[in-house]
Every structure is written in C-alpha cells, then in structure tokens.
C-alpha cells in the first residue's frame, strides 16, 4: 500500500521555537505539498516542491520554509512558532502530470503552539 507518512500525529511547541514537520513518501512522486487545514478555511497551500531542491510558495508561505534534499522527504519548518500557526498540517504527494489520479495525503500533524 502506497503511503505518505508524517512523523508526528500530535505536537505541542512553545512560542518562538523552531519546529520541523517531516513527511516521507514511498511512491517515487516528484510533487510534494504542504497544506494547513483549519475549520471554516479549508485547506490552504503553504509550499510545494516539484523536484529535489526545488520549491515554490503557495498561498500562505509567511512564517514557513521548506526543505527537499531527497525525493522522498519534504520538510516544513516553522522558523519561530506563533500561536496563529496552531493547526492541522497535511502533507501530500503526486506524480508530475498525474493530479487527475488524485493526491495521496498523509494522516496529518496536529500542531499546538502555546
């Protein structure tokens, strides 16, 4: 069974901490995405990557950065966590040109910043 694995299901961090959210896929997909999911706001794209070391900003990149050193791993970094970054974070992947076949999503990381 193909998988997108997010390393943590729940995280609690303090304001100002640097936070790393990890995502690994085993499908050899080129594209990887980070979304945040908030009630009433749906899913909003933070960053995406279409190849190793390549990244593009999504709709809400402020306060975030990403790293893609290997094809299978896409990390989301909160440089200095703030309470308004408390959210559910979803990672997803797909093959280039195969969005029609659907994204494969991870199970999500619920981050609470206190």
């Amino acid at each position: 069974d193909v998988k997108v694995t997010q390393s943590s299901r729940y995280l609690v961090k303090r304001t100002g901490e640097k936070v790393f959210l990890e995502c690994v896929q085993d499908m050899d997909h080129e594209n990887m995405f980070w979304y945040r999911q908030d009630p009433g706001l749906g899913l909003r794209l933070i960053y995406f990557s279409y190849d190793v070391k390549m990244k593009e900003k999504g709709d809400i990149p402020e306060g975030y950065s990403v790293s893609r050193e290997k094809k299978e791993r896409f990390s989301l970094i909160l440089e200095s966590a703030s309470t308004n970054q408390t959210s559910m974070y979803l990672c997803a992947s797909t093959q280039v040109g195969r969005t029609n076949y659907g994204y494969t999503f991870g199970s999500g990381t619920r981050l609470t910043v206190v």
Partner: protein
C-alpha cells in the same frame, strides 16, 4: 482570481434523503475539478473527478460551465456518507489543487 466556493459549512439530512453539496468555482478557462472526502479519523482521499464522469459510492458530480458549478449529488444518503467533503480545482498545466472551505455532511438514521 482562482477560487472554489462551498457555501454550506454543514448539511444535515436523514438517511434515504437526497443530498446535494454545492461547489462553485472561479477560473478563466476549463479547470480540472475534483471532490475529496475525509471520513472521521481517516486521511483525505479523492472521491471523484469530473474528467472521468464516474459514480463513486453512489455520488455523481456534473460540471456546469455556464454556472461554473460542480455540485456533488447522491439520490439516497447513507449514514456512512457522513464526512467532510472538499471541492477542489486544478488549474490547467499545474499539479496544484485549490480547495474550497469544505462542507460537513451529517446523515442521521
């Protein structure tokens, strides 16, 4: 601007009743449209896509370019249909998905 609008946050129906989850989009051109579903404690997953004109779990969705809509329909709701439903748009030539705000469907016995 590219946008997906789902006007209902919550839709409650009784088992056996028809269901229609509304989705309108804003896009200059012919987008690729999708419905994703998230059942309780499960991952978000693709339900159906307009390009394949398929019916999945009894759900169908028709693209109406004149009304820029892609409503999700099912003639007889089941309790197991209770979930969060997201409409999504993929601009042509990209692999990005733009999601709506989601509609929670509750089907009561």
């Amino acid at each position: 601007a590219q946008r997906v609008t789902q006007p209902e946050k919550l839709l409650s129906v009784f088992k056996g009743a028809p269901v229609e989850l509304k989705c309108n989009y804003s896009y200059s051109g012919s987008p690729e449209l999708f419905w994703y579903v998230q059942y309780s404690r499960q991952r978000l997953q693709l339900l159906l896509r307009h390009i394949s004109r398929e019916s999945i779990k009894g759900f169908t969705a028709d693209l109406n370019k004149g009304e820029t809509s892609f409503h999700l329909k099912k003639p007889f709701a089941q309790e197991e249909d209770s979930a969060m439903y997201y409409c999504a748009l993929s601009p042509i030539g990209t692999d990005k998905l733009i999601f709506g705000t989601g509609t929670r469907l509750q089907v009561f016995p």
